[in-house]
Subunit: 274 residues, 2 copies
């Protein structure tokens, strides 16, 4: 396999791709991204990912220097060059090269092809533990590049044998560091609706769940976790991943619940047939 | 003038310097910096800037892949190559190249030589206006590269004919987007002591002020601004810059006060003789 990147209209071998030092993404953390994958060699829900990418750009007042059609054309080119059954695409948009290290000029837009991260099957089968932390992302509705928090917490996550961190602020749960959060209380599926990045997998799972469960998109108080029977997280690489422990609290006695398993199966069917 | 940059042990012409796309500073905003300048061709207070740089690195659990002696050796080299009477140095430390786009490996360390920004003399003479905004930097004591807030606010700052933004949170004032904040109430000089980046110029001004004024480092409530007679900001490029208006509130009838002018003179004497 040999990865190519798209940089401002040009395709380059990944190892030759670079940005100059005065890029605002680097100097000022002024950047955003999105992350899409293929299933069965086909980009998954590309319109939805594009919609989110363009929305992030709009909220950070950055213009993507190309359009959806061209982006998806290059996605196909990059996929063909990667020569892999499936892969991921990272779209990166920065404030561009700045002459005074603060003023946005012409944004830099990059598409990086990446191998899909390997998720141990055990995580899907037996669920994962997460730890909680009081935090709220600065612009939750934007997929900005600011991930200082989870990188700083990496050692603590590992020391706790946890998979990720669950954010809450003022007793309200929002999301995990890079994925959304769901709980089951009886047959009601609940997921926070504010201060989150609205995930594509989240959106799909809500639709898949509707014929089978009552679905509530609403604030989730941290105290509610005590009453939760099942929990899971959703994300592009996490799909439907059961959460069986939050800090010291076991969810559903620490075993994956049948409702979560049901949604996992529905999602897996959808991607198998995509 | 021709600028060179130091990148991980190598000196390169600025236009040839670049970082690969998988640098965590770029992909995840995981980076920090510091910014030092020369006066009369001599790096200003280099030990204090180095102390702060190494402290930021420590707080972000990043190891600078060189030492203070070597950094200051290259600072001199870079200054000689720049062939300018004075210049600035931007030290940038990132999480380095990551294979999984999340895990810190070997940090990248860069020293960039830059021309000093030109500050209109009018700002020092007549003072500036700032606008306030509810915000707290994520890691206030670290000079991290996260400047999403002031870049997003750039248009609003300009529309208000303001110079910068003054942050407050829970009614407590912390700092400006890139500089510290001081007020005078009578002969008492007051500056916030928490949730701030401890500026080098702030430190110098406090020392310069002590023989002449009572100095208090303590929380400043936003309601206190009504009682303030003088205000100013300090920073490496701002030196002692009077603030004569905060939003719609005129400070000292909108004119630079005599105590601020006194500190400005003391600071200017110090740098003239440095």
């Amino acid at each position: 396999m040999k990865f190519y990147y798209y940089i401002n209209g040009q395709l380059l071998p990944a190892e030759q791709a670079s940005l100059k030092m005065n890029d605002l993404g680097l100097l000022r953390g002024f950047g955003l991204f999105d992350y899409m994958r293929t299933y069965n060699g086909k980009p998954f829900m590309p319109q939805w990912y594009m919609e989110r990418l363009f929305n992030s750009a709009c909220l950070m007042d950055l213009e993507i220097p190309t359009n959806e059609t061209e982006i998806l054309y290059y996605v196909e080119e990059l996929f063909n060059l990667a020569k892999l059954p499936d892969c991921a695409f990272r779209f990166l948009l920065t404030g561009g090269y700045s002459t005074d290290s603060m003023t946005v000029s012409q944004p830099n837009f990059i598409i990086m092809t990446e191998p899909l991260p390997v998720q141990a099957q055990e995580r899907f089968d037996k669920g994962v533990k997460v730890i909680s932390n009081e935090h709220l992302r600065e612009l939750p509705e934007v997929k900005s590049t600011n991930y200082i928090k989870p990188i700083l917490m990496a050692k603590q996550i590992k020391a706790n044998k946890a998979y990720d961190v669950l954010y809450h602020k003022n007793n309200e749960i929002s999301e995990l560091s890079r994925s959304n959060f769901f709980i089951f209380k009886g047959d009601t599926l609940i997921t926070p609706d504010k201060n989150i990045l609205k995930g594509i997998t989240r959106r799909i799972v809500i639709e898949l769940a509707k014929p089978h469960f009552k679905v509530e998109e609403r604030p989730v108080n941290i105290a509610e976790l005590e009453e939760v029977e099942e929990a899971f997280t959703t994300g592009t690489t996490k799909k439907v991943m059961p959460i069986v422990q939050i800090d010291d609290l076991l969810i559903g006695n620490g075993e994956v619940g049948k409702r979560t398993r049901h949604l996992q199966n529905l999602f897996n069917q959808l991607i198998d047939n995509y």
